[in-house]
């Protein structure tokens, strides 16, 4: 059972509708609960940031949507993509062939985390970028100029484009990977920690680039540990904890009046706020508690929290907590 904001009427025009997505990894003697009953809707023009600590499952979400999970993963639930100029597709059921031909790159772009390992080492950045452009409809003659333009967009010098991936610094490789994801002009972009290794000016530049894509009608799912980045560009922010979305609401509301105790704790950890960590540690995804996974760290936990809280509508957003914080009330 899932209830989501926005409502079903808006949902009809959604670019991406994820419903009850659940991912498990089967290890020897253990099961990793990577993503649990995750639902979200993304509209053209929308930038949704998924935030959480490393290992909370947020990167797995991006890989599940692209069918890029390892063999020991099982995926259930649905993820409907409605590309503006193509047939709707359920990303979970679509076969490898369909994903390769019609989805990856073309309909759903991915800016990967640790791009250095994702780049083909034997081709220069320019060649990689021009090949991508030509595979997506640019002519041989138009590709070089388009490559220069995209490189400039992501803040890469034309000179750096002529280098090979191993000659690039981490930040340059990150920008090249972003350029490659943008080249097919996909209606949906999944950006998994796209600013890793970049200095602040480039971080802001990259974030603003993602924002501009949304302002021209594309949608972006930004996966990040960086709350400041999310705040700068996101329309809505979803907070993940221990494989679940625990709160999702418009960005300003989330930062001004968090309703979930974990969100409140995370915000309190910011250096321009209390700079105090959330006490305790996140649970192992192989060994989640039965009730609310945040209970061992939660100042508001009661006996009621032995029952897992459902993600329910709350004002303009959604929250999963039996004792949500209300604006103005003491934490």
């Amino acid at each position: 059972m899932t209830t989501t904001v926005p409502t079903d009427t808006r949902r009809a025009h959604a670019l991406l509708g994820v419903d009850g997505l659940t991912v498990r990894f089967h290890l020897r003697g253990a099961v990793v609960h990577a993503v649990t009953d995750l639902s979200l809707t993304l509209h053209p023009g929308e930038l949704l940031a998924v935030v959480g600590e490393s290992g909370c499952g947020k990167s797995v979400l991006a890989h599940a949507l692209l069918g890029l999970l390892p063999r020991n993963a099982t995926v259930t639930g649905r993820a409907h993509l409605h590309p503006p100029d193509g047939h709707p597709v359920d990303l979970i059921d679509a076969g490898e062939r369909h994903l390769t031909r019609h989805v990856r790159g073309r309909a759903v772009g991915l800016v990967p985390q640790s791009p250095a390992t994702a780049l083909t080492p034997v081709r220069s950045g320019r060649r990689l970028l021009e090949e991508t452009l030509r595979a997506h409809g640019h002519t041989r003659r138009a590709a070089p100029a388009a490559a220069d333009r995209i490189a400039a967009d992501v803040g890469l010098d034309p000179g750096d484009l002529d280098r090979y991936p191993h000659e690039l610094s981490g930040g340059m490789a990150q920008r090249l990977a972003t350029a490659l994801a943008l080249a097919p002009d996909p209606p949906l972009l999944l950006a998994d920690e796209p600013t890793t290794g970049l200095d602040r000016p480039l971080v802001d530049h990259t974030l603003d680039l993602l924002r501009r894509r949304c302002d021209t009608g594309a949608a972006v799912l930004l996966i990040t540990h960086d709350l400041t980045a999310a705040r700068r560009v996101a329309d809505t922010v979803a907070v993940m904890y221990a494989s679940r979305i625990v709160e999702h609401r418009p960005t300003a509301a989330l930062f001004d009046a968090p309703a979930h105790p974990y969100t409140a704790g995370l915000l309190d950890a910011l250096p321009d706020r209390a700079f105090t960590p959330v006490p305790g540690h996140p649970p192992m995804l192989t060994d989640l508690p039965d009730g609310c996974a945040f209970a061992p760290r939660c100042p508001r936990a009661t006996d009621a929290c032995h029952i897992p809280p459902r993600l329910l509508p709350d004002g303009a957003g959604r929250v999963a907590c039996h004792h949500r914080l209300t604006p103005g009330a003491p934490a």
Binding site: G55, G197, T228, G265, A269, P271, F275, T276, P277
Partner: protein, 231 residues
Amino acid sequence: MTVTTDDTVHGAAAGGLAARRVTVAYGRQRVLDRVDLHIAPGETVGLRGLSGSGKSTLARVLALLHAPDSGHVTIDGHPVGGARHRLPAALRTRVAILFQSPRSATDPRLSLADLIAEPLRATGASRDQASARTADLADLVGLTPDLLARRPHAVSDGQLQRACLARALVHRPDYLLCDEATAMLDASTQAHVAAVVTDYQRRSSAGVLLITHDPALMSRWATRVVDLPTP
């Protein structure tokens, strides 16, 4: 927090870790040009500068991991030169450094416990001494025994960075250099790492160098900020 551009006012006071007219070039490109920097015991110096201004290179020079092309490093006024591995252990262990990306800086075959204990074993500590110290440090940085038994691939970036912090503190360094050490961490883990470092600093009077692109973190954590000029 005070901002200084001219570091000489803090002088070559007897105590401290200092770079003196340090120049480093990669090929024909000069990334540091006669740079001076001084870190006094107990203070946290924030180092700012544009991308490519050589902040990380300066940290590596100060950590005695990279020999400058000219200029030198002093500890408590005494010049230390040459390659790190040729320095006496007593000097080598006085400066520790923590990097942004723990994965590229760690041996994937070691458990987190071995990762923390390795520098101790390397300087001749017994197995018992090493494991006692490892347990203390794990507790300090917030790693459970279960996590200590794991290898890097089986833990999150945050957990691995906690182990790297424990490893950096294993010899009780007088100086700790944090090069974007919390950039990959979520806000809570970042605040915890900062709290562990600050607490260690309070007890030991260690000097800390802080390199971060986050202005909020810089102004909250650094006691003094230095701008590194672009050469």
